[in-house]
């Protein structure tokens, strides 16, 4: 009887440690899906790195442009696309001239074009005057992609139209009205590089170090720890880290748009995901705690 009882007691914690990982996937699936269908109210509180980026864009001189470097691919879309959408809304709502380019890979082009089309349609579908409209070539330009990165970044310090003789849609950039006041880094208030790789560091190395251009970044959460030193040193003006960073920035932009009279109920993918994100984090913390308890109990019993 005694060995039987001992096996039963040990069995529970052992079984817990040996549970098939597919059951964990099922739990995570449910934990993410249920709050998505029945969300609870979470208001993301903007952290200093996010607030700094927002404040900088918001307060930069009117004659300075916002440039967004879209350098993510479909695999990091859920984290980074909401940042691009929010940055475009911020730029258009505050009447900034906006330049968009891709540096990393051609796969970013479709995502950048999709974001531009979506946000410009949001504004244009509600526009009643020219001032409210967002026009390609006048209010924004999509330069497209060019290569190699070093040549592009150094060349943009002299003349953007030499690096991008034609834009993504095939127009001669020299002929676009917006390019008259967007010649090189001197005309840029800030470059926000949204990337799933180390491209923001290339912007720091060349555009910031050599030309003194302000750089902000939107990055995946997995690389956030690597980028914090550059935020601390002031080489990044501000930083959006992961989906949470996107949600915080969306919240600030949303408040700003309401303040400016754009009381539109626009989709905010980052904010909408926060219920699922929170529930999943709680579940993973529970897994960690239970797993550690099980580990220490079984180890003590073995000893």
């Amino acid at each position: 009887m005694t060995p039987q009882t001992g096996r039963e007691k040990r069995g529970f914690w052992d079984r817990l440690l040996l549970v098939d990982r597919r059951w964990l996937y099922v739990v995570i699936w449910l934990v993410v899906m249920v709050p998505m269908l029945f969300p609870f109210d979470i208001k993301p509180e903007a952290m200093p790195p996010v607030r700094k980026l927002f404040e900088y864009i918001d307060s930069m001189p009117e004659d300075k442009s916002l440039v967004i470097s879209v350098d993510y691919t479909p695999d990091t879309r859920p984290e980074l696309h909401p940042m691009a959408i929010a940055a475009l809304r911020h730029g258009f709502a505050t009447k900034r001239r906006v330049g968009v380019l891709c540096l990393n890979t051609v796969m970013s082009l479709g995502l950048a074009e999709g974001a531009l089309r979506q946000v410009s349609e949001e504004f244009n579908s509600r526009a009643t005057t020219r001032e409210d409209s967002i026009i390609n070539g006048e209010d924004y330009v999509f330069w497209g992609w060019s290569y190699p990165i070093i040549t592009v970044l150094l060349g943009m310090g002299e003349r953007i139209t030499r690096v991008f003789p034609v834009d993504y849609y095939g127009h001669r950039t020299e002929s676009l009205p917006i390019m008259a006041s967007l010649k090189n880094y001197d005309d840029m208030g800030i470059v926000v590089c949204i990337a799933g790789s180390s491209i923001p560091l290339s912007w720091v190395n060349y555009a910031h170090t050599q030309f003194g251009c302000q750089i902000g970044c939107g990055i995946t959460a997995v690389s956030a720890a690597d980028f914090y030193p550059y935020l601390n040193s002031g080489q990044f003006t501000g930083m959006l880290a992961g989906m949470k960073g996107a949600a915080e920035y969306e919240e600030l932009v949303s408040e700003k748009m309401v303040e400016l009279g754009y009381e539109w109920d626009l989709p905010r993918k980052g904010t909408e995901a926060m219920s699922s994100q929170t529930a999943a984090h709680l579940a993973i913390m529970a897994f960690l705690i239970i797993g550690n308890i099980a580990f220490f109990i079984t180890r003590r019993r073995k000893q």
Partner: protein
């Protein structure tokens, strides 16, 4: 429930489910999706490079008799293909040398400034470290600056292998390990957040764009 009518949404949804099926076990649906992704990505990239790089920057000007010097540059680039001919495969070193030389020359001076000097400067605690900014009150930022400076010294000490870690080096390197572990913890936490975010993105697509269950 408002299921998508767009056939491409259905294709994307079915491929997403095919990839997710790997969580159960490896299977032909997953392998099909994987191979399709590699093929489509490569096909897209090659076509794009041809139309957006080779055509406007090489073929078009040269075919109109402009910038004929580009032919010489193209010839150097073509040497990459000598890799497939064993007798002359050494020629591949020429374009590699050009690219490496150019990249290193452009990168190293700026990297020394951006990645070393400015990072070192950021660890120096000065009076301005205690200035109140958007990031928080001055005393708080000052304390963090001191912690960062101590962390850098302790961590660099841990990786100081020129002397045996005993005496004063031992406790400092121990503190360095703590900083390194905190760094690993932060990285792991962020990694979990990133992976969950990606899964959320796919579920937003499946439940929202495909099945129309979300707003």
């Amino acid at each position: 429930m408002n299921v998508a009518a767009d056939p491409w949404v259905w294709v994307a949804a079915i491929l997403t489910l095919a990839v997710f099926s790997f969580l159960y076990r490896e299977n032909p649906f997953y392998r099909f999706a994987e191979h399709l992704f590699v093929g489509v990505s490569n096909g897209y990239a090659i076509t794009f490079y041809f139309h957006r790089i080779l055509m406007p920057y090489l073929i078009e000007p040269v075919s109109h008799g402009r910038d004929l010097w580009l032919i010489a540059i193209a010839m150097v680039g073509m040497l990459y293909f000598t890799r497939f001919i064993p007798k002359v495969s050494w020629l591949v070193r020429i374009p590699i040398a050009v690219v490496l030389g150019y990249s290193s020359g452009a990168y190293i001076p700026r990297a020394i400034d951006a990645q070393i000097l400015q990072q070192l400067r950021a660890t120096i605690v000065t009076r301005s470290s205690f200035a109140t900014t958007l990031a928080g009150p001055g005393w708080q930022l000052g304390v963090w600056s001191i912690i960062i400076a101590l962390g850098v010294i302790a961590t660099v000490t841990y990786f100081f292998f020129s002397a045996e870690q005993k005496g004063i080096l031992k406790p400092i390197s121990r503190i360095g390990i703590i900083f390194i572990m905190v760094g690993f913890g932060a990285s792991f936490g962020y990694t979990v957040m990133a992976r969950i975010s990606l899964f959320i993105g796919r579920l937003q697509f499946l439940l929202g764009d495909w099945l129309g269950l979300l707003r």
